[in-house]
Symmetry: D2
Subunit: 344 residues, 4 copies
């Protein structure tokens, strides 16, 4: 199957390209960058010398439709909204890695401060969290690929919410991300000398991923879920950890809760549950598509603390997009994706 | 005034020595290391060449009492318990940077898994958090210098607890520390290749600083406070951030809560409250004795999120010890301590 | 083909295991660790959960010969010497990643301060730098896999030496390595708080890789080559850069020297030569088997500066070992190895 | 004495401000930033809250002359040239931290690609390396504060050159710097995700500090010195190491060369010579004004390898500027500058 990567010079686009090099069924036939069209991708990224031979082209829907059947859309929020209708009209299936198609129009307008996609387009969009929505994803034409924080948070919390084990009013998520999540755009907040050896909170309580998380939790819970969500920047490149806290509504041991997680994810190849007493670190999933989850019930407070980690660029973006592409193409989810984490 | 630094080759002892070099009133007359007695401190730490000329000696209470009036005790937990009675008997005032004298006997035995100090010694120990206990500290002979996590957490939460503004049942603290907090002892968990570019949780819900925090909060609250407390390791050397969450019991705005913090700390030279909309990062206090605090009331959840940062080795250890020494000596708290943070 | 990984819990052994997971022809049938025999590899490295199912066994030559045809030997120097005769006698082909079989007996004794292998064994050992010795490697039974610094240095310098373009008396190599090169053993020099945000030189002029480099250069030059070689530690996990300096014996431009490099390596899939004006960084080859080389002739000094980078754990160890295994097995060198660098 | 800091929001300006807070004799009465005039310095740098109370003003020479006697000029190259004549005319003494007044007109034009200062101004400029030019500095009105690389390199090499111990034709300097040397301006080369865990060379053989180093060496040697000089970027914030190589012209031992260094620097409070067998690391001088030097004579090659380290922002910029200011004001060089390195 031929695929196009739109926005191939951004960090998530770059990871899509890299991962697809090892994919046995998906073949990259077009890479785009409006700002650097005409250059070779290897001019922008010399580390790809000898591996990629494609010139960067403009993202023209009709041209892309002549070259590919599926498009990975790795553009900043807002640009997806503008491009998706043309891509769909041209007959391409689309996996959108931006946030544009994950929210209701009202939420998107409120949290992204931008004009949302039309109802017509949004109605076609399926939220691409394969562990919970594989059946809906497979026949879809437009996938809203989940955000990095939502992926780590939802995989950490959905088993509890689905089974009604927690007081959803008590939910607090303290999330930490490596700096690559901020992308390639220069800013004082990603300037080496300011972020190195520094740990900081940002967008406290107002991060645009909040409504995405709440939306999915609400859908599974059956009633409105509102959570406290704080994002922090870790002086490292890759990795997200979501540390989640919730009051249990039943008297359960750590072992009992772990059993529920293991059962929930028993057929999900990319979610790994830690043994009792062991907690995952971000390096445990680095450069892989895994989400590792550990948890502990604290008898002193009757709270469960759940720790979920992903690589923000892989399971939090490019890897999950390919996992969705595999579903769209009728391939096993793991096709071309089962790399061991690069621990060191 | 002549002072001794016991355990001068550990990280906190080293910082006490460094800070005292710039202190106009406290004069280091003895540095000890039982394991390296006889060597010069500069043999262990060549970066002190030309600045320190003291040989390392064994920690003998009588000898130290002949050399100094006050001892900074920077030994691992357990060793303090053994040494403090002799130091006090020899007439020295003692500031203990270990955790031995901060807890009740029962709590110490439970959380540190070691034999606690005697009641007689514990009864003399004053908890050395100057922002709240300066009056008790000044005349004391034995100071239990607070732990790094407790300092950041208590300065973040005490204004809320004192004013009865939060539901203490709802308290959750998500804390993050640089690696220097683990000290100089080698372990796989502080091996560069394992911790670099990695973010991990450790001692989830069982960290020995929990009873210290709960003890002080309980004392101020007047009823037992139990909190969820999770510690994480950040791939950086210095700095602690405590991100605290609590339900407000009253309808207060961010501005109103900030006003209470500003009032609480108006005469405290080392606590700085951020303006509304601004949150501190760990680098903002690096290599300084400051604790910077920012906060936000989330109208969606009626929770307040408080973010407090300190340098774990300074306000979280050596700097606070000197602040306590200043009080013991009748000096202004800021004497020799008002260094600007090293932001870069 | 079935292979054993001896010393699978060290960093290079771990990388061999990881890379072989993606190898289509080499099948890991045994992993050993004398110190942790009986445990599962995933107990030591939880990030491999679900991917590896082998128990760690003791390194018994006869047992291994029953399980595999080829052994990767990833043990500390000295242990290889002891084990290799038994492995060869049991019929296994051996790729030794340690330094034991790279030097003459005299050099090994002088620089490693250990007892060297016997002449009988050394005579069978082929130096496994495939770019120059592929023909000798293919039929061999014992491969001395090159060291990390020698790989970067030799690939940087051999084109100049082979063509007689430099005054070998003038050779200076200033080398820098990430910390993973020091392995898994704990030491103050790899303790996070001491190495983080620090840059230091070590083993100045006495590094054990010096005779290995000089030996190969001498062989190619036809006369004794002696060089100044300084090693530095960079506060990062992966990567080596060798910055080499030499006086040109002819008046050549940067373009002309680049042309010689491109010709030398035109059929070598893992060596990439940069365009004039571009220099490689260590991230350009991270987690890949590539060696990237850039250079510049300085008309002011008539010297050429050559900059070569590799991933010390891949092309400098595990990747090159697999490249050698491919040759031993009659496979294309690139089999299972042509991963794109993980740039971010 | 009242001083002005021109360009107080750049990294070196910020360090001048920080260091002057602890200076007993120099009083900051004006801080300037043309781009942020009107704002408080603490708005740009909240870590200075409570410590600095100055508003940022425009750099007007006459106004500054009414406020101060001495100006630290911490502007990008080119801007100093424009401003210095007015500052001198207004009666201010000037310490210029930029490169504008360190070179001949021809060299400045060639290496900085900018219009140089006039002869009239250049003739007044004294090169501010106090260890060698204190006598000329004291009565001067305009100090060209040395660059960071030149400081580390010159202090490493001048004892050898002054005593005629090396073949200056053989000089090679391999230099490495932390990222703060690149300043506050955003660029892809200082974007966290690109520089973190990366080591790279830049400006190979064409760095603008080359003529500055060669100029001073030539002056001391009495004949033209040309060297190979390569600059690298280390993924850390602070610190420079210069690793220098030269052929000895005499048969000298490491001890003998060390003795010459110790004699050369015996009265220089900020240069520390390591014992035989010990090499300095960049952390050994972090946040201090020290330059630490270690060296080794290699009997195999008759070369000496000299390793010099400084904090690029202190001895390589702001600290040295204050050392020069002390000389200009008739104060001991160490006034307000003798801080111990922050090793951790």
């Amino acid at each position: 199957m031929n695929v196009a990567v739109i926005g191939a010079t951004g960090y998530t686009g770059l990871e899509v390209v890299r991962l697809l090099m090892q994919h046995p069924e998906l073949n990259v036939t077009a890479v785009t960058s409006d700002s650097q069209a005409g250059a070779m991708l290897t001019e922008v990224y010399p580390h790809l010398q000898g591996l990629v031979h494609d010139p960067l082209q403009r993202a023209d829907a009709l041209e892309l439709a002549a070259q590919a059947d599926l498009a990975f859309l790795a553009l900043p929020s807002g640009l997806s909204t503008a491009l998706v209708p043309d891509l769909l009209a041209a007959g391409l299936k689309v996996i959108d890695l931006a946030g544009d198609h994950r929210l209701s129009q009202a939420d998107y307008a409120e949290w992204y401060h931008k004009t949302p996609p039309t109802h017509e387009v949004l109605n076609q969009a399926i939220y691409g969290l394969p562990e919970f929505y594989a059946a809906e994803i497979a026949p879809a034409r437009l996938i809203a690929n989940p955000g990095c924080y939502p992926t780590a948070t939802l995989l950490s919390l959905l088993p509890l919410v689905q089974h009604g084990l927690i007081d959803t009013e008590s939910l607090i998520v303290d999330a930490k991300s490596g700096v690559s999540g901020a992308g390639k755009a220069l800013s004082p907040g990603t300037h080496f000398a300011e972020i190195n050896e520094n740990f900081k909170a940002y967008k406290v309580g107002v991060h645009q991923h909040i409504p995405e998380i709440e939306g999915v939790l609400t859908k599974q819970h059956g009633a409105k879920v509102t959570l406290s969500f704080t994002t922090h920047l870790v002086p490292m490149t890759r990795g997200i950890m979501a540390t989640s806290y919730a009051k249990l509504t039943q008297d359960l041991s750590t072992e009992e809760v772990l059993a529920i997680y293991k059962e929930t994810y028993q057929n999900q190849p990319f979610v790994r549950i830690r043994a009792n007493g062991s907690m995952p670190a971000t390096k445990d999933v680095s450069a892989s598509n895994f989400c590792d989850i550990g948890l502990r019930v604290d008898p002193r407070t009757s709270r469960v603390t759940v720790i979920g980690v992903i690589d923000n660029l892989i399971k939090g973006a490019a890897g999950q997009a390919i996992q969705n592409a595999n579903l769209l193409c009728g391939l096993p989810q793991t096709t071309g994706l089962l790399h061991a984490p690069v621990y060191l």
